[in-house]
């Protein structure tokens, strides 16, 4: 009833205006600007160095920011995310290796441009396309939020439960390797939330009689182990991150190329945004989808892959626009849209903010700050990319023999700093072992994080719903919101089955053709 009155009187719009005013005041202050610059530079470096990227950067930032005000923490993290996206494209262009997974499609045309002596063009193009894509993505997010907000605000415990289940089910839909492996990883993540004191039933579970586990399996050391420690074990396969950087070309030509192709830039940005909205899928897929769309609509598709600037524009505009899209399921629904936002969700929990519909009332200012920090960071990376395009690639010359131990050491310091417990350091290294196994076996670590983030929410709201309904399970299937989410769940679950049947038909056709030959 209170929520309905809130909506009818336009309460959300006025709350949003207040939040925007307050967030602008923080972001434009000296501290806000310093945080954005620091986060952007950190994100740039983390994005440029292959094997690091958004999830590692955020998992290292979490212990640095756990004890500060949420506005400070999320300004820094959002700015880092903004920097990572562009940083990864530099490595893709210069080294033919994506700095981060979402930059993978950039190398198809970016690296051939570099081999032709146009690396500076490509990096400048990437810088401008990234900036425009990010701005477009955030404008679309701001435009759609007032429509999603009323729906999200009407959610109650049964809807939160189904929302968490839908989020867990997206693991199946988003699986790149074996779906079963990823689902099992998600299940393990849910099981990790069973340790400790249950907030709803009050029971103590799986503590082994120790006080350490009464608060549950700690999230920060788990994140650090899975991403930072495991990532370092994996990148120690090469002596240096780079050989000599190949630079050359014109910054202005690269920037003007985006202006000449503004329709393609906007189209790719919109494609990236919509793909980013799909929970669990966004990050790696957005740049490929936009690239393929640009190739299909080109007058001469055969040129794609030989070093056409349209390929770089499509991939980078989509890659940055997807962040605005993935903010919708992440912030408004509590379902992560990408690997980085999955880690970001963990950060929300640490700061006592419940991701999802509640955030629209409890943390609207934080949401606006994240959006503003992303905008500022992306503008800053565009400027840095244009000015320092030829110097950025030299960061990749850092030897891994320096990067690996330093990151490991900072990881252990960070794991300890959050709670001041030595066992947290042990947990981080243990999860490093687990994370490495998962990385090599191609099992999604993000699925495990999704399980950790959403498992507790699902169980808590399940029991709370039963308390509200005095034990009647009908509460889960009688509310309109719940029914809508059950339909969404069925669609999400049927997607991989549909894909499997379609692939079987395609393979059957191919083998028939082969037999005929």
């Amino acid at each position: 009833m209170t929520t309905a009155v809130f909506l009818v009187t336009g309460g959300f719009e006025s709350e949003l205006l207040l939040a925007v005013r307050s967030a602008l005041g923080f972001v434009l202050s000296a501290r806000g600007i310093a945080l954005i610059v620091a986060g952007t530079l950190l994100g740039l470096v983390m994005g440029i160095l292959p094997g690091l990227g958004g999830p590692v950067a955020l998992s290292l930032l979490i212990p640095l920011t756990f004890d500060v005000h949420p506005l400070v923490a999320f300004t820094l993290m959002a700015a880092t995310l903004g920097g990572v996206n562009f940083g990864g494209s530099v490595t893709a262009i210069v080294l033919n290796t994506p700095g981060t997974a979402p930059n993978a499609a950039t190398l198809f045309d970016g690296h051939p441009m570099a081999k032709r002596g146009e690396a500076t063009n490509a990096i400048a193009t990437s810088a401008v396309a990234s900036g425009i894509g990010a701005l477009l993505g955030l404008v679309l997010f701001a435009a759609f939020l007032p429509f999603i907000a009323p729906v999200a605000l009407s959610f109650w415990s049964p809807e939160y439960f189904w929302l968490a289940v839908v989020g867990l089910a997206t693991i199946a839909a988003a699986a790149r390797g074996s779906m079963l492996d990823d689902l099992i990883a998600g299940g393990v993540g849910v099981m990790l939330t069973f340790h400790g004191i249950s907030t709803v039933t009050g029971g103590i579970r799986y503590t082994g009689g120790t006080q350490y586990l009464q608060g549950g399996v700690p999230l920060v050391p788990t994140l650090i182990g899975l991403f930072a420690v495991a990532g370092m074990a994996h990148i120690f396969t090469q002596e240096t991150v780079a050989t000599s950087a190949q630079t050359g070309g014109s910054r202005m030509s690269g920037a003007l190329a985006v202006a000449d192709r503004w329709r393609q830039t906007l189209r790719s940005g919109v494609v990236g945004w919509f793909v980013g909205v799909i929970p669990g899928v966004g990050g790696t897929v957005a740049n490929f989808v936009a690239y393929l769309q640009a190739k299909r609509s080109a007058s001469d598709p055969s040129k794609f892959g030989t070093g056409v600037v349209d390929g770089v524009i499509a991939s980078e505009a989509a890659n940055d626009a997807k962040d605005g899209g993935s903010l919708i399921p992440t912030l408004a629904l509590g379902i992560p849209g990408s690997a980085s936002t999955a880690v970001l969700l963990g950060a929300f929990l640490l700061h006592g903010l419940t991701p999802g519909p509640l955030l629209l009332t409890e943390g609207l200012e934080v949401i606006v700050v994240i959006v503003l920090a992303l905008v500022a960071s992306n503008l800053l990376t565009s400027v840095i990319g244009l000015v320092a395009a030829d110097r950025l690639a030299t960061v990749t010359r850092l030897p891994t023999v320096l990067v690996v131990p330093v990151v490991l050491a900072i990881s252990t310091i960070g794991a300890f700093a959050v709670r001041g417990q030595f066992v947290d350091v042990v947990v981080a290294v243990l999860f490093g072992f687990v994370g490495y196994l998962m990385l090599v076996a191609d099992i999604s670590r993000v699925a495990l994080i999704i399980g950790i983030v959403l498992g507790g929410i699902a169980e808590e709201n399940f029991h709370r719903s039963l308390q509200i309904s005095e034990g009647s399970y009908a509460i889960f299937v009688t509310r309109p919101g719940s029914i809508a989410l059950i339909v969404v769940l069925l669609v999400v679950v049927s997607l991989p089955i549909y894909d499997a049947f379609r692939n079987r038909d395609v393979n059957a056709d191919k083998s028939t053709e082969h037999d005929r030959d």
């Binding site: 790149r176 492996d181 310091i413």
Partner: protein, 168 residues
């Protein structure tokens, strides 16, 4: 027949998969075992989720026996920047384990600084690079974490045994 890189890569992947599932199976068994000793409402989710994961593991083992594709492919996997090199990874994980032991003995900052510089010297013999690494770690650990963020540090058992309070 000599192993190709792809074979080695897939072999390493399958070993990692097996290792992961052994760990998960042991964990699930523990969860289900102790679920029986809790109240029904407290045990509900562990039983349901643990049972589902156990079924998943059985299905996974079943697909391996039947010979269905395990899901480890040679397709481009954006999370993997190179072929897995288990010996190199084992080196890093061994150093990480040694780091934990060193922290337990001499404390957080001394251990991290010492292990970083030793790691670099062992692998490169480059004293200047080792110094750079040590300085970076000390700057981040002491200046940033302890002075700016006022995070606590860990003293280590050695100092407790000697009866001396460490400086960092």
């Amino acid at each position: 027949m000599a192993q190709t890189d792809a074979d080695r890569s897939t072999g390493v992947g399958r070993s990692a998969l097996a290792g992961f599932y052994i760990l998960v199976a042991a964990y699930v068994a523990t969860i289900l075992w102790f679920a029986g000793s809790y109240r029904p409402d407290t045990a509900l989710f562990p039983t349901v989720v643990g049972g589902a994961v156990a079924l998943g593991i059985c299905a996974r083992v079943g697909t391996r026996i039947v010979g269905v594709d395990s899901g480890i492919t040679d397709d481009f996997r954006p999370d993997v920047t190179d072929e897995p090199r288990p010996r190199m990874a084992a080196v890093v994980l061994a150093w990480a384990t040694a780091l934990v032991g060193a922290i337990a003995v001499v404390g957080l900052l001394p251990a991290t600084t010492f292990v970083v510089s030793t790691f670099i010297i062992v692998h490169t013999r480059d004293l200047r690079l080792a110094f750079v690494g040590a300085v970076v770690v000390f700057a981040v650990g002491y200046l940033l974490f302890q002075l700016v963020l006022e995070a606590s540090s860990y003293g280590g058992l050695l100092w407790d045994w000697i009866g001396v309070r460490p400086l960092v």
